[in-house]
Amino acid sequence: MSTPAMTSLERVLTTLGHQEPDRVPLFLLLTMHGAKELGMSIRDYFSRADHVAEGQLRLREKYQHDCYYSFFYAPLEVEAWGGDVLYVEDGPPNSGQPFIQHPSQIEKLTVPDMDTPCLQKVLDATATIKKEMPSEAPIIGVVMSPFSLPVMQLGFPAYLDLIYQQPDLFSKLMEINQDFCVAWANAQLDAGATAICYFDPVSSPTIIDRALYQRTGQPVARETLARINGPTATHLASGRSLPIVDDVAATGSAVISATALESLADMKTASRNKLTVLGNLNGIEMARWSPEEARAKVTAAIAAAAPGGGFILSDNHGEIPWQVSDEILMTISETVRESGTYPLLP
């Protein structure tokens, strides 16, 4: 007996409840592709909230996936703190020189206002999407975790030195960043976001060991997520996550990302009834996949992780590269509809 079709929101909520919806939910975490849809440069696209809102609406209409993604680009948050953003024609905007050139500057940092223009653009885009499509699909907002944001604030080497060698300044930075992260997440929820994706790549065992995570990134996440007024998903941006599944579950997050570098089946087993697994299509390889490869990868991911619900198919990084073609995105979407309908075929 076939299950009646669900809305995207119902589909996602069902899988988050570790039940099988009508089909596997698909999050195509597309950002720059909206510029292609609107026929403009990446820089022009992100310059206005209505561009991004229109781009997200068109992308979901085109690919029939299960979320809107109000994320603009990673360095948007450091832009709010006064940092530089560097644009390229064929990739995501990137952060410039770290705006904290010496750790002593941490003492003088203040939390940016939520009406800072770059933040306000995201809030306006979110509100527009919400107004156009009030409850059919979730709107996924994004924050950088207080623990991972310093990579762009200080630069990675200086941040590692801070973690290991200057615990007092590290604590001070976490305190300031937590206040910002909470305010920024709640502002997006107030604007209409359904849930917040908490990007925390530094917490991945790819970057730091589990013991250090348990002393640093995990308590920061637990405290921060508790103050966010909505559901949260933890994304490690291609980083490994298998060794810290239980730790992430203890932070209060509902979702964990899976990398293409780890077994999706193992991730699903470790996360069952604790966290919904989000992943793990390889976005970098995706840029050169043939349609046949795309179909095979999607089918394999569904077979590995979809039984029983608790799974959302997505790329493994949280941002699909500009170089991924429309044909491959369409193939992924079609394959989910063909092979991802519950009950799954053996």
């Binding site: 390229v88 990579v151 790819t206 060991d209 570098l261």
Partner: protein, 211 residues
């Protein structure tokens, strides 16, 4: 070389115990009176640590801190301008289009710690990197990138450099090359280093080929 010393040195680095690491190297240096201890102890340990990261056993932060400790220790034994360092082809490292320094810092530290002298070009765009490389007459260029778009920009850098200096060798690394193991060939590089272990091996192989 006594494998016990290698184990001890690795443990000291992973524990970020600079004093113990220095004690082990100083003892080895005193005994050998040559630079052989770098080849016998430092290089294999850095290769082992790189391999452990590739296998998911240790995190990137430990590689970075291990490399830093080794680099500082070797600098104290083997100053930057010493003849042992500069008697090989000219080597440089750069990041293309990016200000995320960690990958370059790690590779730079482990190569310096293994006795290699290299120029650090910092962050460059394609034009700047080609110009700087040719101006300094570099023989082996290591390029680190974070973004897929930057990885594709290497194609142009390789073509322009090879046109001007056909003997130049290029090694590429960074996240895009880890997630697409064929990408380094696509951009026209001569080798890639998915981890510090591979980067050291690829660099030394090219040094031997060009020397």
């Amino acid at each position: 070389m006594n494998s016990g010393i290698i184990e001890q040195f690795e443990q000291a680095l992973l524990a970020m115990d600079r004093i113990e690491a220095q004690r082990i190297l100083t003892r080895a240096a005193t005994k050998q009176q040559t630079l052989q201890y770098i080849e016998d102890i430092v290089v294999p340990v850095l290769e082992r640590i790189g391999l452990k990261w590739e296998q998911g056993h240790i995190p990137l932060a430990q590689i970075y801190m291990s490399g830093r400790i080794c680099e500082e220790l070797i600098d104290s034994f083997l100053p930057e301008a010493s003849p042992e360092r500069i008697s090989h082809p000219k080597i440089a490292i750069a990041i293309l289009d990016d200000h995320h320094l960690l990958g370059k810092s790690i590779i730079s530290s482990v190569l310096r710690a293994s006795g290699v002298a290299l120029e650090d070009f910092g962050t460059q765009d394609s034009d700047g990197l080609v110009e700087e490389t040719l101006k300094k007459d570099i023989d082996i260029l290591l390029i680190s990138v974070l973004m897929l778009a930057s990885a594709h920009h290497i194609t142009d850098v390789v073509a322009r450099l090879k046109e001007q200096k056909p003997s130049i060798r290029l090694i590429v690394g960074g996240a895009p090359f880890r997630f697409d193991t064929e990408l380094w060939r696509t951009v026209g590089a001569d080798a890639t280093g998915h981890n510090t272990n591979e980067a050291i091996q690829a660099t030394w192989k090219m040094i031997e080929e060009l020397s």
